[in-house]
């Protein structure tokens, strides 16, 4: 045993850009999801494509942001969305041209006022409550126990008389549903 300890500092300078990109994406892009989904649904006939389209837009925006963070998120996201739709239409000639007739609605979407921060925060509280209430009962119970009561997976399994694997399955379902509610403004 020698008395020469190593010191590991928490700060990691090289990771800064990754963190910055992520923070920007969460702060600027994800809040646009509900608006973006409305835009996609409005302009794309096949509704089963929407989720994949959304992902493709996110991937393009994110990869661009890794190189350089766009000055204004909203126009950038919607222009990316429009270009993607146009490319898709060109590639998949089966899609009738009317599908993109409303692409000009883009300008309206960009000009619409962004949500102000105080309203978002207030809204958040209410929306989370609604989102929680919409989860299936067992799923909600698991999420509340994990998130609000802070129980571990094992403790939840014991309390509810289910296996730890089932707890995990409820948690992952809950995570996906909550993200869709909170960002996508999913309403039945």
């Amino acid at each position: 045993m020698a008395d020469t300890p190593e010191t590991n500092r928490e700060a990691a300078g090289t990771k800064m850009t990754v963190r910055e990109t992520r923070a920007w994406f969460v702060r600027e892009v994800l809040p646009l999801e509900a608006m973006l989904l409305r835009y996609l649904r409005h302009n794309w006939r096949d509704k089963s494509d929407i989720e994949d389209l959304l992902q493709d837009i996110y991937v393009r925006v994110y990869e661009a942001a890794k190189k350089e963070i766009p000055a204004a998120a909203k126009p950038f996201v919607f222009v990316t969305a429009r270009n993607l739709l146009i490319n898709r239409v060109r590639r998949e000639s089966v899609i009738p041209i009317e599908a993109v007739a409303d692409l000009d609605a883009l300008d309206i979407a960009i000009d619409a006022p962004g949500p102000d921060r105080a309203a978002v925060a207030r809204d958040d509280l209410r929306r989370l409550q609604i989102a929680l209430d919409r989860l299936p009962p067992r799923c909600r119970e698991v999420v509340v126990k994990r998130r609000i009561e802070g129980l571990t997976r094992r403790e939840i399994a014991l309390a509810m008389g289910i296996t730890e694997e089932t707890v995990s399955a409820h948690l992952t379902d809950g995570m996906c549903a909550l993200a869709d509610f909170l960002y996508g403004d999913e309403r039945p």
């Binding site: 020469t4 928490e10 959304l54 991937v59 990869e63 609000i148 129980l151 571990t152 992952t172």
Partner: protein
């Protein structure tokens, strides 16, 4: 352009991201797991985006637990059996004699480690012992071939001690002494008291001035000693995890008064929260915050509790 969607639908990627996120919260999450996650994230931007999206939504739910009233039963103080205390005292005495003998043999070199307000640092010693220093902490260590002693002069630290039966690991907090018996525990030095929380294994806790007061603390025990008394409560794994939230950069409040919550956040930040009236100070909250997120805390006080928040630069006043 990575075109992962050709192989996997957005829905499938989302489900996979959720599985990672869920596994990551388990206590047995290892560096190997983290490496596997990092690799998955690096595979495709679609993976990374799905993960970041789910994680941020999940974190938001953590922040907003303030919505729900918490009806958590307080854990009852537990009495320590006199027999256990005697055993513990004996163990501590042996440990002390060992340490004293070594002192004269060796010319020890002490090293000092410290963190600033808001800082956090991990020190790893050659014997495999790891110490995590929380905000605003000063710790001196004497780690030689014959003895292992640290002095917690200020603040809070978490210890993961490599067990060595012949060389007990000793933490001195003023006149209080914690002696490990192969374990993980945290020690916090307050103005009036010392708190020891054991997350794994056992320690003995020696408080001066109270005869034969060495207590044997087991996993889950949280002992608080002042100059004249000591209480021990047994806490659940999750409650202990909450208390040690700072190791992940988080503070967890449960039924915490606003006054206490502000005091806790103030340990980590230069900008100080000040509650200016007693009515607001006694309101209770349950929520989780990043240790440095004073701004979010102020916003929650404003929006969720309906309090008045005034930003004065170095100070944020909260009132009715």
């Amino acid at each position: 352009m990575s075109d992962a969607r050709l192989n996997q639908s957005a829905k499938e990627i989302k489900a996979r991201a959720a599985e990672w996120l869920e596994r990551q919260e388990r206590p047995d999450w290892s560096p190997a797991d983290q490496a596997a996650l990092d690799q998955w994230l690096a595979q495709s931007t679609a993976h990374e985006v799905a993960y970041v999206r789910l994680q941020s939504a999940w974190e938001r739910t953590e922040r907003l637990v303030i919505l729900r009233p918490l009806a958590e039963a307080k854990s009852a103080p537990r009495r320590i059996s006199p027999l256990l205390m005697r055993v513990a005292a004996a163990v501590a005495l042996v440990a002390m004699l060992g340490a004293t003998a070594a002192y004269f043999v060796l010319q020890p070199r002490d090293r000092t480690y410290s963190t600033a307000v808001g800082g956090r640092e991990t020190v790893t010693f050659a014997d495999g012992t790891r110490i995590e220093l929380n905000t605003n902490t000063v710790l001196r260590a004497r780690m030689t071939t014959d003895q292992r002693i640290v002095w917690l002069d200020k603040g809070e630290a978490f210890f993961r001690v490599k067990h060595d039966a012949t060389h007990p690991f000793i933490v001195m907090i003023g006149a209080h002494r914690v002696t490990d018996i192969g374990t993980q525990f945290s020690v916090r030095r307050g103005k009036q008291n010392v708190q020891v929380a054991v997350t794994q294994g056992r320690v003995t806790f020696d408080a001066p001035g109270i005869a034969s007061q060495a207590a044997l603390l087991m996993q889950g025990d949280v002992a608080t000693a002042s100059a004249k008394s000591m209480t021990v409560v047994r806490k659940s794994e999750s409650a202990l995890n909450d208390e040690l939230g700072w190791r992940r950069g988080m503070i967890v409040f449960r039924h915490t008064t606003l006054a206490a919550a502000c005091a806790e956040l103030n340990r980590y930040n230069r900008v100080k929260l000040v509650v200016t009236d007693p009515d607001a100070a006694s309101r209770t909250i349950g929520a989780t915050f990043r240790t440095n997120d004073v701004e979010l805390f102020a916003r929650v006080a404003e929006v969720a509790l309906g309090l008045h928040v005034t930003d004065r630069g170095d100070e944020i006043d909260i009132s009715r």
